[in-house]
């Protein structure tokens, strides 16, 4: 109970401190890192407090301290699972899926007919729930990372396609007319106008796709996998009631996902430095 009280007090204090920091130093780099970090720590403290305060069974919800301990103790295992699921399954699928989507967008961009036909159908296909598709893909592509990559491809393809198609349309009249006055070729228009103009949209899609790739790769392992991988570990560890390990894997997923997302956001900053949304602040 004492810990819970402390957690609540900490939460209150940290929130006030954060508001104060945010109000005064919001444009400082260190504050931009510190404020969310403190918020995260607050969540963890609160979690620890609640688990201790309400005496929640560790097989239901382990305390953050227990998770950290388990994490530290099984780094080798976690790294192996990370390599299997993220580096092989998710990354391969992400690259393939996004690449295919970009190429497809450029190809169907030339044909309004194909676009009008493909987009609604694609929309429909994208709505197929992965929990239904994953077993099928495991059946088709086997148990190893290839089937996970296939799931990821299916998951990321459509969001990226939609954004890229929208992006290729994102040039304004004036910009296109300018190209017309030069009687520019399709290639020139594509490379000098439409691809640069599409980048902000593309990155929108690419960022969404990062979290989808992760989720896809992990979930696909529930439907059959070799005896390693994050999804495999989560499902088996639940069966063994090793909840700290489960949450360690989840922590890895969240870290990897945030890192992946952050990397794409950084790349976006570099590539679309000219876009107003990047220039604000």
């Amino acid at each position: 109970m004492k810990l819970l009280m402390f957690a609540l007090a900490f939460w209150l204090g940290a929130s006030l401190f954060n508001s104060w920091l945010a109000a005064r130093f919001s444009h400082r780099r260190w504050a931009q890192l510190f404020v969310p970090a403190l918020f995260g720590v607050t969540l963890l403290v609160l979690w620890e407090g609640v688990v201790a305060g309400f005496a929640i069974s560790p097989v239901i919800l382990p305390a953050p301290s227990a998770i950290v301990a388990r994490f530290a103790q099984s780094t080798a295992l976690l790294w192996g699972d990370f390599a299997q699921t993220i580096l092989k399954g998710a990354l391969a699928g992400y690259l393939l899926g996004c690449g295919a989507a970009i190429v497809t967008a450029i190809v169907i961009d030339r044909s309004p007919f194909l676009q009008r036909g493909l987009m609604p159908v694609g929309n429909f296909v994208a709505a197929l729930p992965i929990v239904g598709i994953a077993p099928i893909l495991v059946m088709w592509f086997g148990f190893d990372w290839q089937s996970k990559a296939a799931v990821v491809v299916l998951m990321v393809f459509f969001p990226v396609l939609v954004n890229m198609v929208a992006g290729l349309k994102a040039t304004d009249h004036l910009q296109r007319d300018l190209m017309k006055t030069y009687s520019a070729s399709y290639r020139d228009t594509l490379f000098k106008l439409r691809l640069p103009a599409a980048m902000p949209f593309l990155f929108n899609g690419l960022k969404i796709a990062t979290t989808l790739a992760l989720i896809g790769a992990i979930v696909a392992e529930f439907f059959g996998s070799p005896t390693r991988g994050m999804g495999f570990r989560i499902s088996t560890a639940v069966g063994q009631l090793d909840m700290p390990l489960v949450w360690s894997e989840i922590a890895v997923a969240a870290l990897a996902g945030s890192g992946f997302f952050g990397a794409m956001a950084l790349l976006e900053r570099l590539v679309t430095f000219w876009h107003p949304s990047q220039r604000a602040r």
């Binding site: 954060n18 920091l21 969310p36 007919f113 929990v131 239904g132 099928i136 945030s258």
Partner: protein, 287 residues
Amino acid sequence: MRNLGPILTVVAAILVIWYGAAVKMNAKWVYDQAARAGAEVSTSQLLRETMAQERPVLPAPHQVAKGLWQGVAGQKITSKRSLVFHGWVTLSATLAGFALGAAAGLLLAIGIVHSRAMDMSVMPWAIASQTIPILAIAPMVIVVLASLGIKGLLPKAIIAAYLSFFPVLVGMVKGLRAPDAMQLDLMRTYNANRAETFWKLRLPSSMPYLFASLKVGIAAALVGTIVAELPAGATQGLGARLLSGSYYGQTIQIWAALFAAATLAAGLVVAVGAIERVVLRKMGMAA
């Protein structure tokens, strides 16, 4: 409906490819069986048998269509074998979850737009929250909620809400910030307070973003519900239907449930689109 032609063309192309793939992928089994029986397979026999298997690797389109038709029209809709029945179960949880998620996303977005502290601290964690494979921990969530006495529709709805709040949050943060500096300055010249600025400027200008994100959100809510239905005791709903199809390797049942789910999703998105058109027209924004 000028899109009809192109859509039909694409669908036709897909069907052709699908049939081809069905023959190719199901052929191995036919050959294996023939080999076990010590028989030869002719081409016509191959074509016939690849499209009429009970557990095909890839069911032929007409098999799926038949499965769908039987599921939808071949039963009383109250029957446990009726896809309409299972669809309804899923739909109700989806709508409840979507309402929860959209409300949460909206409230958070409002908070973020109005409070720097929330903006700086919540956003990174909202992103991190979506990298947690909820599909992987859904079973635990169900168990935890059950231990708190929360059962039935609500746990499913909560998982659906978890998946649908994020698109709404992101879209609405963008949308509520859509007013340009001049539009905001205008409000300042009137010394309008936050509430007035919100109702008269931020909310109206966020409408296009709102509906775009609601469309994504409702599709996500459906996925969430289906995911939550897997471990919820695999009883009712399209998710349970998908899973029980998987246990028994009933490919056709899986595909039929898959298509039912996708149709439901498409229907929900169309419904949101219809609401969007009405609202935007009322607001005079349907250009």
